[in-house]
């Protein structure tokens, strides 16, 4: 049992496998998000026929009838007769004169819509929205963490190396920011700013940097006493040189791990905000507001909320796996938790 030294380690999950599967999952999601404009089957905000296309289950195939003035009708079935098109739509039979239909061909209409993951309440394609949502959610997560890391490094370095007064002032400031309940403030500010995505990234970055700066400071303070830094200083190297060439590279390891885990955290925060209606604004798709669209129709149209929820959880699990895996990999000391 746990009393035998060394026995715990053998039972640790094979972290390299988890790390690899996390990286694989994340790369797939990131690629899908990046390639969204090219691989998504339809326009994510287009409502071509909100009435007939509403809440269609996954794998629905519908005929798309193009009428004059760019209007579209989605039909369950179409049939071509000599001079008109018979359309079965919403359980009723309608007919259009052949001259009314713009995309008529020999046995019906030329266009079909395949809704692989179904449609939402406006008849929008869930798969296309999911892909564009990946783009938005991952971009917000990664960029706001990048911003937070940049501020965190600057403030942490200033606190660690700038002397006692600057240090205690900055750390009290960080304590203060950590105290503000971010969701109250973010909701208020996003309502005030009439958010677009870039503003959201800035706001999220602003509430994320304090813990990173605190970590950076602790790391730098312990590095400053290390022999190789003392040696570099005794050689007469400048403080700035020492910071960039000796301290920062060594402080990066825990920073990268923490930043990775933060990305998952921020994706959840963005999803929560969008779910409440304060983050990414409709009609633009994000996983959070897609899940909100599925609220209340979970039993009748489960696909609206289920697919974005699943992808959201996949993404965050993958990020956590990568973060944990990297920590074990970069810092073997942490792996041997419980070893005597």
């Amino acid at each position: 049992m746990y009393s035998k030294p060394g026995s715990i380690r053998g039972f640790e999950m094979p972290s390299s496998l988890l790390l690899r599967s996390g990286v694989l999952l994340l790369s797939i999601l990131a690629l899908a998000g990046l390639a969204a404009p090219w691989i998504s089957p339809y326009d994510p905000i287009e409502q071509i026929d909100a009435v007939a296309g509403k809440h269609q289950p996954p794998l629905t195939v519908m005929a798309a009838v193009q009428l004059e003035h760019g209007r579209w009708r989605l039909a369950d079935r179409v049939e071509r007769s000599a001079d008109q098109l018979i359309v079965e739509r919403l359980g009723r039979i309608e007919s259009y004169a052949a001259s009314e239909v713009m995309n008529l061909d020999d046995d019906g209409v030329g266009n079909r819509r395949v809704f692989v993951l179904g449609t939402d309440k406006f008849g929008r394609d869930v798969l296309s929205r999911l892909l564009y949502g990946a783009r938005v959610s991952l971009m917000i997560g990664v960029l706001s963490v990048a911003l937070a890391v940049a501020i965190g490094i600057a403030v942490g370095a200033l606190a660690a190396l700038g002397g006692k007064w600057i240090d205690s002032f900055l750390m009290r400031f960080v304590d203060g920011i950590l105290t503000i309940p971010w969701i109250f403030l973010l909701m208020t500010l996003t309502a005030l700013f009439h958010t677009d995505i870039w503003m959201l990234i800035v706001l999220l970055g602003m509430v994320t940097w304090p813990p990173i700066s605190r970590m950076m400071r602790a790391e730098l303070l312990s590095l400053r006493k290390q022999d190789f830094v003392v040696a570099a200083r005794s050689q007469g190297l400048g403080e700035v040189w020492i910071f960039f060439h000796h301290m920062l590279p060594n402080a990066m390891t825990p920073l990268i791990v923490a930043a990775t885990l933060r990305v998952g955290n921020l994706i959840l925060i963005e999803a929560s905000l969008s779910f409440l209606g304060f983050g990414v604004q409709a009609p633009q798709a994000s996983w959070g507001n897609m899940i909100a669209d599925g609220q209340g129709v979970l039993l009748s149209a489960w696909w609206v909320a289920a697919f974005p929820s699943a992808v959201l959880v996949f993404a965050v699990v993958a990020i956590n796996l990568v973060g944990d895996g990297m920590r074990d990999w970069l810092d073997p000391r942490k792996k041997s938790v419980g070893e005597a």
């Binding site: 746990y2 715990i8 039972f11 203060g176 969701i183």
Partner: protein, 322 residues
């Protein structure tokens, strides 16, 4: 101990001051000023100017700040535009509801987290340990509103085991005391279970890793060498020491807890501070927004003060360090 508490009280007061200041300036320095919350197509320049005077927004910002701060300290937190009542009164009756939900949620979180973490640590490496760790990773990565959506749809809508929303049934105020209490607990059960389960993943991890870490320490080996029974070593020697970091975590996790409870309050129409701020923002009720953000900040300050004092009481090293 007393000196420690006094010292922490002092820094808490300072923090509270900071939170109030930061909230005020963030909202006031945002482009378009707070009046932007009133924006609508019928707003004329005259009307805007009138509103600006009404809320004192035409004065210099420092003057506004000091008059707001002194009003807050006197307990005058502005007047709710939507509810036509003092904002302080609105929040005062909402605060106990949020506290109830949060305390119930935290209890569930720690009971479930402790149990699962304990089992996982004692059976480290077994199948059940693996399953618990996968479960905790999933719960950790699952947004709280996904869990709530499914739970509401199944437990409240389809099987109707729990009420869908609100804190009381209709006409609950006419029931006798015991029935009222049961009614409240019935309404409290689902939201607090969701709040607790959604957050227990991190506790499981903390307890499991903490226990495994402590089990390798010298004093555990000593205790075992003295011939103490394994269960006594676990419960008395290991668990107590493994739990101290958990108390410390509590203080840090409070803001996240409050945001989770806000989402739950909104989804369940639970009449708490979170729902108040959500409605206030939707209705552009700016004094309530400002007051509830400040109040939530105060709750966090108080919570982390309590966590620190508790930790100092449990762990003498913390007391001496400060």
């Amino acid at each position: 101990m007393l000196r420690f508490v006094l010292r922490r009280l002092g820094s808490s007061a300072l923090l509270l001051f900071f939170v109030l200041t930061a909230t005020f300036f963030l909202i006031h320095l945002a482009p378009g000023e707070p009046l932007r919350l009133f924006d609508n197509p019928w707003m004329t320049a005259d009307k805007r100017q009138e509103l600006r005077q009404l809320y004192g927004l035409d004065r210099p910002i420092t003057q506004q700040y000091f008059s707001w701060l002194s009003a807050v300290l006197r307990g005058e937190w502005g007047y709710s535009i939507a509810l036509e009542r003092p904002a302080f009164d609105v929040l005062k009756e909402r605060l106990p509801n949020t506290a109830l939900l949060v305390i119930a949620g935290v209890t569930v979180e720690h009971v479930v987290g402790l149990l699962l973490g304990l089992v996982a640590a004692v059976r480290a490496g077994s199948l059940i340990d693996r399953q618990i760790r996968i479960l905790s990773l999933l719960l950790f990565s699952l947004p709280i509103f996904c869990l709530a959506l499914v739970a509401i749809e199944l437990l409240a809508v389809r099987w109707q085991i729990f009420p869908i929303n609100q804190m009381w049934s209709d006409q609950a105020d006419q029931l006798p005391f015991v029935a009222r209490l049961l009614d409240l607990l019935h309404h409290l059960a689902l939201p607090s279970l969701i709040l607790g389960f959604a957050r227990c993943g991190a506790v499981v991890r903390f307890v499991r890793n903490g226990l495994l870490d402590v089990m390798g320490k010298d004093y555990i080996r000593t205790a075992r060498a003295k011939g103490l029974s394994p269960s006594r070593v676990l419960w008395v020697h290991a668990l107590r020491n493994a739990l101290i970091p958990l108390v410390q975590r509590f203080g840090v996790a409070l803001p996240i807890l409050l945001s989770g409870s806000l989402i739950i309050e909104v989804m369940f129409s639970w009449p708490g501070v979170g729902l108040a701020v959500f409605q206030a923002i939707s209705q552009r009720d700016y004094p309530v927004v400002l007051a509830s953000t400040a109040l939530a900040g105060a709750m966090v300050v108080l919570g982390s003060l309590m966590a620190d004092v508790l930790q100092a009481w449990l762990d003498p090293r913390v007391r001496d360090a400060i």
